[in-house]
C-alpha cells in the first residue's frame, strides 16, 4: 500500500527515526546546552556582563577566558547573557511568523478567490526584496531598536509560512475527509482546525526549525548594522560590531560570532534531519533506491 506522506501523524510516526541521526543528536545537545546557558546565565557567568571593572582589551586567559572588551567587560559573561537576549527573541519571532504566516496562508488556501489573491500578492511583494535589504529598510524606517528589528524580521519572515501553508491546505482542501466534515456541518474554522491543521503542521514545523537559524542570523545582522540592540546590551551581533573597531583584539568579535554560529548550526542540524525524515521526495528516493 502506498503511504501518503501527508497522512495524519506523519510527524510523530517518523520522529524516532529522525532522532537516531547523529546530526540531530549533536544539534539537540548544542541547542539544549544553549538553553541551559540562557536560563542559568546569572548563576553561570563569572562576572556582571555590564560591569566595566576589568582591564581593557585583555587577551583570553585565567579569570576571563574569552578576554575583555574595550570597556573592560568580561566577554564570556557577555556571551552567556547574550543568549538571554537573542534566543528567546528569535524563538518568539519564529513562533509569531508561523502563527501569522500560517493563519494567513491557511485562509488563502482554504477560502481562495480574493482572500487568496490579496494575501499572496502581498507575500509576493515581500519576496520581491532580498531579505536583509527589506528588513534593513523597515528597521531604519521604524527607528533603531531591538523591538523594531524583531518587527522588521517578522515582516520578511511570515510570507514563507503563508506560501507553504497555502500549498498544503490547497492539497487537502478537496480531500474526502475534509469534505465529509463540511457535510457534517463543521464551520470553516472547525474544519480548518480539526481536519486541515494536523496535515499541515509537520512540514511547517520543519520550516520553522530551519528558520530559527535564519531568523537569528538576520536579527544579529541588523544589530551588527546598528539597527537593533543598543549598547550596553550584550547582543551578539552588536558585540561583533564593536569588535570591528578593535579588530587586532580578535577575541572581542570572535566569541560572540561563534555563539551565533553554534546556535544557528544546532537548529540547522535539527531542521535538516527533520526535513529528510519528512520530505516525501527524499523518502521516495530512498524507497526507489532500496528496490
Amino acid at each position: 500500500m502506498k503511504r501518503d506522506p501527508l497522512a495524519r501523524k506523519g510527524l510523530t510516526g517518523r520522529l524516532p527515526h529522525a532522532w537516531r541521526q547523529p546530526l540531530a543528536i549533536v544539534g539537540g545537545v548544542i541547542a539544549i546546552a544553549w538553553l541551559v546557558v540562557a536560563l542559568a546565565a546569572p548563576v553561570l557567568a563569572p562576572h556582571d556582563p555590564l560591569a566595566q571593572d576589568l582591564p581593557r582589551l585583555a587577551a583570553p586567559g585565567p579569570g576571563h577566558w574569552f578576554g575583555t572588551d574595550q570597556l573592560g567587560r568580561d566577554i564570556l559573561s557577555r556571551v552567556m547573557h547574550g543568549a538571554r537576549v537573542s534566543i528567546p527573541l528569535t524563538l518568539m519571532l519564529v513562533a509569531l511568523s508561523v502563527l501569522i504566516g500560517g493563519l494567513l496562508g491557511a485562509c488563502a488556501g482554504y477560502f481562495g478567490r480574493w482572500v487568496d489573491e490579496t494575501i499572496m500578492r502581498v507575500a509576493d511583494l515581500v519576496f520581491a526584496f532580498p531579505t536583509v535589504i527589506l528588513a534593513m529598510v523597515v528597521a531604519a524606517a521604524l527607528g533603531a531598536s531591538l523591538t523594531n528589528a524583531v518587527l522588521a524580521v517578522l515582516v520578511v519572515a511570515w510570507p514563507a509560512y503563508a506560501r507553504v501553508t497555502r500549498g498544503l491546505v490547497l492539497g487537502v482542501r478537496e480531500r474526502e475527509f475534509v469534505l465529509s466534515g463540511r457535510l457534517l456541518g463543521f464551520s470553516a474554522w472547525r474544519s480548518l482546525r480539526v481536519d486541515v491543521l494536523p496535515n499541515v503542521t509537520g512540514p511547517v514545523l520543519v520550516l520553522a526549525t530551519l528558520d530559527i537559524g535564519t531568523a537569528l542570523l538576520l536579527l544579529s545582522g541588523l544589530s551588527f548594522l546598528g539597527l537593533g540592540a543598543k549598547p550596553p546590551s550584550p547582543e551578539w551581533g552588536a558585540m561583533v560590531a564593536s569588535g570591528v573597531e578593535v579588530f587586532d583584539s580578535w577575541w572581542v568579535a570572535t566569541f560572540p560570532g561563534l555563539a551565533i554560529l553554534t546556535v544557528v548550526l544546532a537548529f540547522n542540524f535539527l531542521g535538516d534531519t527533520l526535513r529528510d525524515a519528512l520530505d516525501p521526495r527524499t523518502a521516495r528516493a530512498i524507497k526507489e533506491r532500496a528496490l
Binding site: 511583494l125 526584496f129 551581533g237 561583533v240 528516493a285
Partner: protein, 355 residues
C-alpha cells in the same frame, strides 16, 4: 457563398508562440511587482516618525514659518498623501530618488557609482557558488550515504549557519592582517590607477584596456569577499543540487538509460543534470537575493565601495532617501534576476511554458 472566411474569433492562444506568451506574462508580472516596490518604499518613508522638514532645514530656517511652508510646498509635503505618492512615482520614473542627506548628491548619482561594484562582487560570488555548489551536490548525491556525502552535508550546513558579517571580519583578520596573503580593502591597488570605465566592473574594464596589472589586482581584491559571500550560497546550492539529483536518479528513464548500458558520464550530463537543472536554477535565483543581502554585511568590512556599504552607511545615519533608493534599486535588480530565472526555467523545461 464562400466558406473560406476568416475565423470569427481569432484565437489568441494559437496566435502567439507559447514562449513569447510566457515571457510577456512574466514581464507584466515583474512590472506589477516593480510598481509594488515603489509603493512599499514610499509607505516606509512615510512611516518614519522623524519630521523631514527638521531633518533638512537648519535651525534658523525652521524658526521662519514662511521658509518652512515654502520648503514643504517645494517638496510637495503640503499635498495629500496619494498626490505625494504620484509625485514620488513620477520622480522614480524619471530617475529622481531624492537627495542623500550625507553625500548631498542625488541618490541616483550615488547609486550609479556604487551598483557596478556590488554587481561585480555578487556576480563573482554566484559564479563560484554555482560551480562549487553544483559540483558538491552532484558528488554528494552520487556518493549517497558514504563518508563524502556526510562530510559535504555537515560542511554545507556549516556554510549556511555562519554569520556572514562575522566571517568577513575573521577572513579579513586572518588573511590580510595576520598572514598578509590577500590585498586589503577596496577594489584595486590605488597605486595602479584605474582602467577607463566602460562597464564599471573593474575586472572587465581592465581586460578591455589590456591592463593585466590592474586585472590581477582587481581579481586579488575580489577573491576573499566573494568567497566569504559565496559560502552561504555554496551550502544552499549543495543541499538543493543533492536532493534534485537524487530525485532524478530515482526516475524510470534514468534506470532505463542505465539498463541499456549508457556510460555513466552520458547519463549524468544528458539525463540527470538536465532535469535537475530546473530546481537548481530556481534556487540560484533566490540565492542571488541572499548574495545581494550579504553584500550589505560584507562590503562594510572589506571597504568595498558598493551599494552594500552605501546602504550600511545610510542605514546607520538614518539617511532615509538613500536607504529607500537602495531598497528600490536592489529590489528591482532582484526582480530582473528572477525574471531571467523564470525565462531560463521556461527555456530549460518546456512544460513550464504550457502552464
Amino acid at each position: 457563398m464562400p466558406t473560406t472566411a476568416a475565423p470569427p474569433r481569432p484565437s489568441r492562444r494559437r496566435g502567439a508562440h507559447p514562449l513569447a506568451r510566457f515571457l510577456i506574462r512574466r514581464i507584466l508580472m515583474a512590472l506589477l511587482l516593480a510598481w509594488g516596490i515603489t509603493l512599499v518604499t514610499f509607505v516606509l518613508t512615510n512611516l518614519v516618525p522623524g519630521d523631514p522638514v527638521a531633518a533638512n532645514l537648519g535651525q534658523r530656517a525652521l524658526g521662519d514659518p514662511a521658509i518652512v511652508a515654502q520648503w514643504r510646498s517645494e517638496h510637495g509635503l503640503d499635498k495629500p498623501l496619494w498626490e505625494q505618492y504620484l509625485l514620488h512615482l513620477q520622480g522614480v520614473v524619471h530617475g529622481d530618488l531624492g537627495t542623500s542627506q550625507q553625500s548631498h548628491r542625488p541618490v541616483s548619482q550615488d547609486l550609479a557609482e556604487f551598483v557596478p561594484a556590488t554587481l561585480e562582487l555578487a556576480g563573482a560570488a554566484i559564479l563560484v557558488s554555482l560551480v562549487l555548489g553544483v559540483a558538491f551536490g552532484v558528488i554528494a548525491a552520487l556518493r549517497r550515504d558514504r563518508l563524502s556525502d556526510h562530510a559535504l552535508r555537515v560542511l554545507s550546513l556549516i556554510g549556511i549557519s555562519v554569520p556572514t558579517f562575522w566571517l568577513a571580519l575573521v577572513a579579513f583578520y586572518v588573511f590580510f592582517y595576520r598572514l598578509q596573503i590577500t590585498p586589503g580593502s577596496g577594489r584595486v591597488d590605488a597605486a595602479l590607477g584605474t582602467a577607463p570605465a566602460v562597464t564599471g566592473l573593474q575586472t572587465v574594464d581592465a581586460l578591455l584596456a589590456g591592463r593585466w596589472d590592474i586585472f590581477g589586482s582587481a581579481v586579488g581584491h575580489l577573491i576573499t569577499p566573494a568567497l566569504v559571500l559565496a559560502l552561504y550560497t555554496i551550502g544552499l546550492l549543495t543541499r538543493f543540487t543533492r536532493s534534485a539529483v537524487l530525485e532524478v536518479l530515482g526516475q524510470d528513464y534514468v534506470r532505463a538509460a542505465r539498463a541499456k548500458g549508457l556510460p555513466g558520464r552520458t547519463i549524468l550530463f544528458r539525463y540527470v543534470l538536465r532535469s535537475a537543472l530546473v530546481p537548481i536554477v530556481t534556487v540560484a535565483g533566490l540565492a542571488f537575493g541572499s548574495l545581494l543581502s550579504g553584500t550589505v554585511l560584507v562590503e562594510a568590512i572589506f571597504a568595498w565601495p558598493g551599494v552594500g556599504q552605501y546602504a550600511y552607511k545610510s542605514a546607520t545615519t538614518l539617511d532615509l532617501p538613500a536607504v529607500m533608493g537602495v531598497g528600490l534599486v536592489v529590489g528591482v535588480v532582484y526582480l530582473v534576476i528572477n525574471l531571467i530565472v523564470d525565462v531560463l526555467y521556461g527555456v530549460i523545461d518546456p512544460r513550464v511554458r504550457l502552464q
